[in-house]
Symmetry: C2
Subunit: 141 residues, 2 copies
């Protein structure tokens, strides 16, 4: 299996509510949207918000809404940008589960849960490069 | 907040076991590995396996290991490649939660859970383009 990921999907309880968080709240623009799902193009991969019931059917397993230990991260270009993004997410209804702080690995990071409880880390990491298109490489690549 | 994701993290109960699944089982190569975490560079973003206890501390919230309605997908270039990847994941200890089948949206897709229960969709989608570096764009982009 190739070492890559094509799409990240988050199950959501109310698609309209979730779209407001990501679109009006965070400023993202959908590529397309249907009754049960909305797609967003990110640099190098896709991102989808999918009604839980439809995702349960699609994945063949029940969703209980608990935290499975999955997190997505957005790396910012500065500490100030981390604070600004967390503030924006909170203004959109997100909840801070860990306030941003200096991390043992030399960066600065906090966590915000979206409206469905999905974990977003917002980080500044001096060891990663954020390219002009927004794609990110680690380890000096 | 920019419309992008920098890192995907999966909480795992036993890092050595999880690494065997992704490295020996699926053939991925780590960028770096420490006691509690292993990092992999994917096209455009990073991927991490992180010991649950360390992730709980990092994210400031408990992990109960249930399914939160999160899935990552790998899109393949053919139906046969979907079958081959699912077979490879099963051989590595993954469990099929939904056998691959023709999808209402015109593609072919199945789901496999990894050793910690994280949902992986394996799909062939005629509407997406897999670029030479493995990055994927949707909607004819």
């Amino acid at each position: 299996m190739d070492q890559r990921i094509s799409l990240i999907t988050l199950g959501v309880g109310d698609l309209a509510r979730a779209r407001r968080f990501y679109e009006q709240g965070l400023g993202w623009t959908p590529l397309s949207a249907l009754d049960e799902v909305a797609f967003y193009q990110l640099p190098g991969l896709g991102f989808a918000l999918f009604e839980r019931k439809a995702l349960e059917l699609d994945a063949g397993r029940p969703i209980d809404g608990a935290f499975s230990g999955f997190a997505v991260a957005i790396n910012e270009r500065s500490r100030d940008a981390v604070d600004a993004t967390i503030a924006q997410a909170v203004a959109a209804g997100g909840k801070v589960t860990k306030p941003a702080e200096t991390a043992p690995w030399g960066g600065y990071s906090g966590y915000v849960a979206d409206l469905d409880g999905h974990a977003w880390e917002v980080a500044w990491n001096p060891g990663c490069t954020i390219h002009p298109d927004g794609s990110t490489t680690f380890g000096g690549a």
